[in-house]
């Protein structure tokens, strides 16, 4: 029987909260260096918009990584879908936006099946498969766009990327306040109910002392964000999409068979297969889900920019992968959370935003970004090395 160590493990404490700490350090530094510009109402709203596309990609990219795979095609793929949407909108103006959205999702499902087939059923390494398909996506994008920039997009697609919640009163962003309040109340109610049940089931000690501060912190944060956005332009639809997708996929990953299998496959593929999990099928499902989520990101992207270009999305997969790693997803699979990945990507966006506010030389921006990534991976590896008992690799 393992005894729980009573000695406080400072490193563990640091590691568990590393994301929060990183955020605090980064936010604090930027606030100082930008002379208070960073934590302004408008900048925080901007930051959320700027990080939305890649954060949406990270939502399922993290699950893909958790299964021990990868997707190097996400960026070019996003670019291609954005181009498809823009082309239909521009060339066939009579097609309702909603139909365009459906067409994009249909294409996404097909490509998802394609990737899932190769990776899941043919058991080929995802790294190379997606490296190959990204070239194909780029080629298709180039072919259909002829290298031109295509836009503008309208209707719900434009709204998805660029619209804000409407106001009832017409003078205040009242809907934002209401929605924010509802979310906070729901969060508190949900958490309290869950904890009570846990205690009843004897799974938790009655440790409200620990939970309440955490809950309060999150509620206050949420309230602050709401108020901030309220005093600017309110919730953008893109933020709501990011938020809702994060909640849904997070919930799915924790509360459905599919989600559990994703972690199981990443944890130990063979043991998972022995437990009766159809690994190929689950991977297929995951790639389809991932394709649909990336398609959503593509719509947000093209809506926000109002135009699609052939170069669109180039490198976004790396931003998302980086965000996942910074947010605690193990690149070797098995560990990670959706919320962490999204937070990690947003932190990377905050990094970009802050450095650009500081008007830092772009050369240094690259170096800082590389450094943060290196730090995150080293931290994670150190933490898991502490655990893993391996035969000494001499």
């Amino acid at each position: 029987m393992t005894k729980t160590k009573k000695k406080v493990d400072l490193f563990a404490l640091f590691y568990q909260n590393s994301l929060v700490l990183e955020a605090i350090v980064i936010f604090g530094l930027f606030q100082i260096f930008t002379g208070g510009m960073f934590l302004t109402v408008r900048n925080l709203s901007n930051l959320l918009m700027q990080g939305a596309t890649c954060s949406i990609i990270a939502i399922t990219m993290c699950l893909v990584i958790i299964t021990g795979n990868a997707d190097l095609s996400a960026g070019r793929y996003l670019g291609m879908l954005a181009m498809v949407a823009a082309l239909i909108q521009v060339n066939y103006g009579s097609v309702p936006s909603i139909v365009v959205v459906l067409i994009v999702f249909a294409i996404a499902i097909i490509t998802g099946l394609w990737h899932g087939f190769w990776v899941g059923y043919m058991k080929l390494p995802a790294f190379i498969i997606t490296l190959a398909t990204q070239l194909v996506f780029l080629g298709i994008n180039q072919y259909i766009s002829d290298g031109r920039m295509v836009g503008p997009v309208k209707g719900i697609i434009a709204e998805m990327g660029n619209g804000y919640m409407p106001s009832i009163s017409g003078t205040h962003n009242d809907t934002t306040l209401i929605l924010g309040a509802l979310i906070i109340i729901a969060y508190i109610a949900f958490t309290v109910a869950k904890e009570k049940k846990s205690i009843k089931q004897g799974l938790s000690e009655k440790n409200w002392m620990k939970l309440v501060p955490k809950m309060a912190l999150i509620a206050i944060l949420a309230a602050a964000v709401t108020v901030i956005l309220y005093s600017y332009k309110g919730f953008a639809y893109a933020m709501i999409i990011l938020f809702v997708l994060t909640i849904i996929v997070s919930y799915v990953s924790n509360n459905t068979k599919f989600g559990r299998y994703v972690y199981a496959i990443g944890g130990n593929k063979d043991a998972a297969a022995l437990s009766g999990i159809n690994v190929s099928k689950e991977l297929l499902k995951l790639y389809v889900l991932h394709a649909v989520v990336v398609a959503t990101a593509a719509l947000v992207y093209v809506g926000r920019l109002s135009a699609a270009t052939t170069a669109g999305g180039n490198g976004y997969e790396f931003t998302a992968i980086t965000g996942c790693v910074v947010g605690g997803t193990a690149i070797t699979g098995g560990r990670g959370t959706v919320a962490g990945a999204v937070a990690g990507t947003l932190i990377m966006a905050a990094l970009d935003n802050g450095m650009s506010l500081m008007n830092l030389d772009p050369a240094f921006q690259y170096i800082v970004r590389g450094g943060v990534l290196l730090f995150a991976i080293a931290l994670d590896a150190y933490a898991s090395n502490r655990k893993a008992r391996t035969v000494q690799a001499v």
Partner: protein
């Protein structure tokens, strides 16, 4: 769109730009300047200019940004700038960041101008004078533009060679096919000014990343096919022209096969005086960024009005002022007057010691 934009500027938006474009500016009010949008504006020393730059990976853009920095210093206005690394979405975000920092004038320049339309418009809605560094021609939103027309520049790239009325085999090397509208317009211009020549087009290639090494490979392939019968290789920029000339150099054809480029890189100037490259196009050098920045400031302050400029059309279909600055073809004959006299490079740099 039904964006819940801040109420203050909401009503004035649609007309203001158009108004100022057609009507002479109001008389300066006694209590302060009346600026470009018919409203009181800040005094010159309080102005903050934001520059949103697409890249610093090419010499030209680094240089011109430096000129803008210098002009602002000379004029006593504050400047902040950001570089987007050729990512339109990132650039849109950076424009938001600049606006958040309270800029009064925005100067932007992007590969894919359409992709920053929303951000530009939002900046305008915040009362910022939105200037686009190149002609917009309906591609994006702007209140003020300038520069040289991509199509015209395209024409200038090949003009010298086109005027020679050459015959024989020619090949084109274009930039990155994912490079946006500008690249397509360059291409059109290049082809058009070659119309008079009775030539056989034996190859057209688009170059990923504008990579000179790739361009060199293309040139080698054509040399292999056509050898001496190749008359000209028409390149869209000087980097690729450098690659092509390297290939010609290898085949002993440098100086014999005509090569052109654009951007007026130092290396290109050196090649021009050495005779391996026919021409380049100095689009801006140090003069254009200076004139444009000054014009932006003057227009902002109401010192100059739309009447002082030509016209262009933005993505909302509004007519906006356009500060024309034609590109200059640089050849061996005029390099002293154009490049060296303008202080772009020193005589020593261009001619060697």
């Amino acid at each position: 769109t039904n964006n819940a934009a801040p109420e203050s500027t909401n009503e004035a938006v649609p007309e203001s730009a158009a108004d100022s474009a057609v009507e002479p500016a109001a008389e300066p009010a006694a209590e302060g300047n009346v600026g470009w949008n018919g409203k009181p504006v800040k005094a010159k020393e309080d102005i903050v200019i934001g520059v949103s730059w697409k890249t610093q990976q090419e010499e030209r853009w680094v240089k011109e940004l430096n000129v803008i920095k210098q002009v602002c210093k000379d004029q006593g206005v504050e400047l902040i700038y950001q570089v987007a690394e050729n990512d339109a979405q990132k650039q849109a975000g950076q424009i938001e960041n600049l606006v958040a920092q309270g800029i009064d004038i925005l100067i932007a320049q992007c590969n894919e101008p359409g992709a920053i339309t929303n951000a530009m418009k939002a900046a305008h809605d915040e009362g910022v004078l939105v200037c686009y560094y190149e002609p917009v021609m309906g591609d994006t939103y702007a209140d003020f533009t300038g520069g040289n027309d991509f199509y015209e520049i395209g024409q200038l790239i090949t003009k010298t060679i086109g005027d020679m009325n050459i015959t024989g085999n020619v090949a084109y090397i274009y930039g990155d096919s994912t490079g946006g509208t500008g690249v397509v317009k360059f291409q059109e211009g290049m082809l058009d000014s070659m119309k008079n020549c009775d030539v056989e087009v034996i190859g057209e290639q688009w170059t990923t990343n504008w990579d000179p090494a790739t361009a060199m490979g293309y040139a080698e392939n054509w040399i292999a096919e056509y050898g001496d019968s190749l008359t000209a290789i028409l390149c869209m920029n000087d980097g690729m022209a450098g690659g092509a000339i390297q290939a010609l150099e290898g085949a002993g054809l440098a100086g014999k096969v005509l090569v052109c480029g654009q951007d007026c890189d130092l290396l290109a100037c050196q090649r021009i005086v050495q005779g391996t490259q026919v021409s380049t196009v100095a689009k801006a050098g140090s003069e254009y960024p200076q004139l444009f920045t000054e014009a932006c400031i003057q227009y902002y302050l109401g010192e100059k009005t739309a009447a002082d400029f030509g016209t262009d059309v933005n993505s909302d279909g509004q007519t906006i002022p356009f500060m024309s600055y034609p590109g200059v073809v640089v050849t061996k004959d005029n390099i002293d007057e154009t490049v060296i006299a303008a202080g772009l490079f020193t005589h020593e740099e261009v001619y060697g010691e």
